[in-house]
């Protein structure tokens, strides 16, 4: 099994290289890259699923020419689960990218995009199976760099370049924390091998706390916790849509994976870790969804929703940790299972949504919601799959988002009932947080879906939009089907998640029973049956009756126009006004004045609150404090040489006088 996984990784790298070698011809590069990626991902996903269901744990060790570390890879339930997520979503994205990049064929060379895409998927797979600190970090850096090059694919655009630089800086800052983490862990045991790090009873308590915080920040930067998420809303829109789907769907989950893996070898968790994660999750979720409500760039909106969903995942994991620290296996299992299933679900529906956004961009030429509208008639398949994705991301039955949120809710309720009072409060905090996040997410997606696809087109471009190509439609349909399948068969989904959740909680007992899950299936089927029944009833009722079409009622207004429709900004305004103390948008308005007003204008922009209120002022203060040290940088070559010479001489003299004659 492990060998087959490595084979898929090798196939990915090989197809990446092959795509570069035939780089002259865009078509050839595109086909080789896409086919290679799709096939390897299909292979990898099936193998990983089989390994997960069989509970396989195998490992492989080899030495390599570097002076530290070794090539140690292994499969265990956690890795297998994340491999399933990685390969599944990457395969769908690669398939989609095959069609999407075709539209870029004339403007620039495609080979680098395919090379870096396949490399990205390969490095993510290696991250999940790596069991040596050095190998892990190498794969992590490869992941960061290949995604950087993908984000700056359209390098002639200013915003893409800036987004890429922000992304690179943020990920490198996060990696510094990881370096420190591994250095601390490795210093104690002398090796960076995960098995030795985990086999011991865990480092001393103080060290474990420091390591946890380092991992939280380091991996959290990649995952997109608030407030270190600021690279996300810039980078995900700037990248090509299939890459955004991949980054939002899987790459940020690598941060979650890293955090979970670190938890696995930090030993038994103290209770406040779980509480901290619940707090981080709730704040990220709320901040993410509130920022999303204020966006009018479709992809930026989706990027903020990724922050929100990572918050939900963290909420689940925090709940699981809370249960684990109190020895409460039910809560631990439910929390971890909910969090992990949400990882998979989010990969699926976020990938679906980004692909839909890509199709909209491809068909209508713009990402600005306010200039779209009425796209349903022009792009029915895209619209339908986007609807499925929207309903799924709001966590509504009978789709998959509901199942993972259900698991987290049940875990929270059970935790509130069974944990000691002080910590039960943290468990119960998750409930209204999740409810509010869900309500706001529903508001945001009604806005996004409604303003983009429903109603009347607001501009020429929207009126002339065209449907996505076949190669782009197929993965979207597949994704939608998977969302529905998981939603209607939660028992199967939990069966996939259970080994990984049990592994995380160090649980060895049987998995809590699946009775309620089949009941969810029953509810879903009854719901669909009722919908069908009512639809049929209406058909019967309307038969033989007059059914006509007319214009939308406009209060007898003689000349209704598409501009009279509700805009996205208007839709979100009541909610944003409610949260005004925390969300400050810049409003630019020019009201109508005079008796016969000719024009009026209203524009609202929201920057990132964490960036503007927290990180930027802090950075400015640090830069100002350090500017005094700036004086040593004169720009003179000779001065720098003097610095070097003096340092060397001082060191030499110090060393010699210290050791004596």
């Amino acid at each position: 099994m492990l060998g087959l996984i490595l084979l898929s990784v090798a196939l990915l790298c090989a197809s990446a290289l092959a795509a570069v070698l035939v780089g002259r011809s865009d078509r050839a590069a595109l086909s080789i890259g896409t086919v290679g990626a799709s096939l390897s991902c299909a292979l990898g996903a099936t193998v990983a699923l089989a390994a997960l269901l069989r509970g396989e744990q195998s490992s492989l060790k080899a030495t390599w020419p570097l002076p530290v570390g070794e090539l140690h890879v292994a499969l265990d339930p956690l890795s297998s689960f994340f491999l399933v997520c990685v390969f599944l979503v990457s395969g769908l994205s690669a398939f989609y990218g095959g069609g999407y990049l075709g539209a870029h064929a004339g403007k620039r060379r495609l080979a680098p995009a395919l090379f870096y895409f396949n490399l990205l998927v390969a490095s993510m797979a290696v991250v999940t199976v790596a069991r040596d600190g050095i190998l892990f970090l190498i794969a992590w850096e490869a992941m960061s760099f290949s995604s950087f090059f993908l984000v700056t694919f359209e390098s002639e655009r200013e915003d893409a370049r800036r987004a890429g630089m922000t992304y690179l800086m943020a990920s490198q800052l996060g990696v510094i924390f990881l370096f420190v983490l591994f250095a601390l862990l490795g210093r104690g045991s002398g090796t960076y091998d995960f098995d030795t790090l985990g086999a011991a009873s865990g480092p001393a308590a103080g060290l474990a706390n420091v390591c946890f915080l380092l991992a939280l920040v380091g991996f959290g930067t990649k995952a997109g916790f608030w407030p270190v998420h600021i690279w996300l809303p810039d980078a995900h829109p700037a990248a090509p849509s299939h890459v955004s789907a991949l980054m939002s769907g899987v790459m940020i989950k690598m941060g979650i994976y890293g955090l979970l893996r670190t938890l696995a070898f930090l030993g038994p968790p103290p209770v406040w870790w779980g509480a901290l994660l619940i707090a981080v999750g709730a704040v990220s979720g709320l901040a993410g969804v509130l920022h999303a409500l204020a966006q009018h760039d479709l992809k930026r909106l989706l990027a903020y929703h990724s922050v929100e969903n990572i918050g939900i995942v963290t909420l689940g994991i925090g709940l699981g940790l809370l249960g684990q620290s109190q020895g409460n296996t039910t809560v631990a299992f439910l929390g971890f299972a909910g969090g992990l299933l949400h990882v998979l679900n989010h990969g699926l529906f976020k990938g679906l949504l980004f692909q839909g956004a890509g199709s909209v961009l491809h068909g209508a030429g713009t990402r600005d919601i306010e200039s779209l509208g009425g796209l349903y008639r022009r792009m029915p398949i895209t619209a339908s799959t986007f609807l499925v994705g929207s309903v799924a991301i709001c966590g509504l039955p009978p789709l998959n988002g509901f199942v993972s949120e259900w698991l987290i809710y049940i875990g929270a309720f059970r935790g509130a009932a069974t944990l000691p009072t002080g910590w039960a409060i943290w468990a119960i905090v998750a409930v209204p947080a999740l409810a509010l996040i869900g309500g706001l997410a529903a508001a945001c997606f009604v806005k996004a879906f409604g303003v983009v696809f429903l109603g009347e087109p607001r501009t020429e471009a929207a009126a002339k939009a065209h449907e996505a190509r076949k190669a782009m439609r197929a993965p979207m349909l597949l994704g939608a089907l998977l969302c529905l399948a998981i939603g209607l068969w939660p028992a199967g989904a939990v069966r996939i998640v259970a080994p990984a959740a049990a592994f995380l909680g160090n649980m060895s007992g049987p998995i809590p029973d699946a009775g309620p899950l089949t009941a969810i299936t029953r509810v879903g089927i009854v719901l669909l049956a009722l919908v069908g029944l009512l639809g049929a009833a209406r058909l019967v009722l309307l038969r033989g009756r007059k059914v006509s079409r007319a214009a939308t009622w406009g209060c007898s207004y003689a000349a209704p126009s598409p501009r009279m429709q509700y805009t996205a900004a208007s839709f979100a305004q009541p909610i944003l006004a409610l949260f005004a103390p925390v969300i400050h948008s810049r409003v630019d308005r020019q009201g109508p004045d005079g008796f016969f007003p000719a024009e009026a204008r209203y524009e609202e922009h929201l920057g990132d609150m964490a960036g503007e209120r927290l990180l930027l002022p802090a950075t400015r203060r640090v830069v100002r404090a350090l500017s005094r040290v700036h004086a040593i940088q004169q720009g003179r070559l000779q001065l720098y040489l003097v610095y070097i010479a003096v340092t060397l001489v001082v060191l030499l003299v110090w060393q010699l006088s210290g050791t004596g004659r």
């Binding site: 609807l387 009932a417 009072t421 529903a442 409604g450 009854v526 007319a550 214009a551 009541p574």
Partner: protein, 306 residues
């Protein structure tokens, strides 16, 4: 089997009566005779026999809106126990399903509203989105007050654990839950003080305006669906307030129907004596309900109930 039939009969037959009761109560308060009690049934029947006119701007989402929301609300009614403590679709964890089914209905109603491309519906949808986002935490917190002492997430167990012998001032937490839930009921069913179901002025509408373009059978479904939603959330409230026997039977059915009619009359009274809140105040109202519920929950933990 009998339980299922009884449950279905209650769910399908009783709801429009509640609308009639509310209208009668309001009329009585205003010194009028008011429409007959069974008028809503006639309204729905009339609408179902009409033809339909669809806007040219709409797609199948508009046609699906009333159907999905009615189906969701009926499903929620099947999940919630009515005249007994069991329900046809009840299971461990059904409280969450209940809340989210209502959310599904709301999503499609809002989407259908945006489908018409009209500013009226957009306005209604926007307000509905804001208010329901705030009502959700209140709903969940009230359910938490029910579920935490029962150490369960099933309606069946939660209702079974309600202590009837010492209700009242001994258990202010349940009172808090009931009040909070009543506020959610008013919000979800577009009653004063959150929304005015009678006027059709765009300034005051939330739910009414969202369904402005529906007509014929669709509007029949909408009307019936709103009645069922009132019934369902009312049933939740009644279960908290009245000691409905767990096993079912005639006493249970009588108590449920009586309780529902009582709730409807109370709504009628509230609608008659209060005016609609100014729009910026509605969120405060809902947040207040949520805060009330959270205070109840905190009291629960403080007393060491779990």
């Amino acid at each position: 089997m009998l339980d299922l039939i009884v449950h279905a009969a209650l769910l399908l037959a009783v709801p429009p009566l509640l609308l009639g009761v509310i209208n009668k109560t309001k009329a009585w308060f205003a010194g009028r005779l008011g429409p007959p009690l069974l008028q809503p049934y006639r309204d729905v029947w009339k609408l179902l026999r009409k033809g339909a006119v669809y806007s040219r701007s709409t797609t199948w989402v508009f046609r699906a809106g009333p159907i999905v929301s009615l189906a969701a609300v009926l499903c929620a009614g099947l999940v919630l126990p009515l005249a007994a403590n069991r329900s046809p679709l009840g299971f461990s964890g059904d409280v969450i399903v209940f809340a989210y089914l209502l959310g599904l209905g709301r999503f499609f109603t809002m989407a259908a509203a945006l489908d018409t491309g009209s500013s009226f519906e957009g306005m209604g949808a926007s307000r509905e989105a804001a208010f329901s986002a705030l009502a959700e935490p209140a709903l969940f917190l009230s359910m938490a007050i029910l579920c935490v002492p029962a150490r369960s997430v099933t309606f069946e167990d939660a209702f079974g654990a309600l202590p009837w012998t010492t209700w009242g001032f001994e258990h202010p937490t349940y009172l808090a839950a009931a009040l909070s839930l009543f506020a959610v009921l008013l919000a979800e069913n577009s009653r004063i003080p959150v929304d005015d179901p009678n006027t059709h002025l765009e300034l005051t509408m939330v739910h009414e305006v969202m369904v402005l373009d529906h007509g014929g059978p669709d509007f029949g479904f909408v009307l019936y669906g709103s009645a069922v939603k009132l019934f369902v959330i009312g049933a939740l409230l009644v279960h908290i307030l009245l000691p409905i026997p767990a096993g079912g039977g005639w006493r249970a059915i009588a108590l449920l129907c009586g309780g529902e009619i009582g709730v409807a009359m109370f709504i009628g009274v509230v609608e008659s004596i209060m005016a609609r809140l100014r729009l910026p105040r509605v969120p405060q109202f809902l947040v207040g309900a949520a805060v009330l519920a959270s205070i109840g929950l905190a009291a629960l933990f403080y007393r060491g109930a779990p």
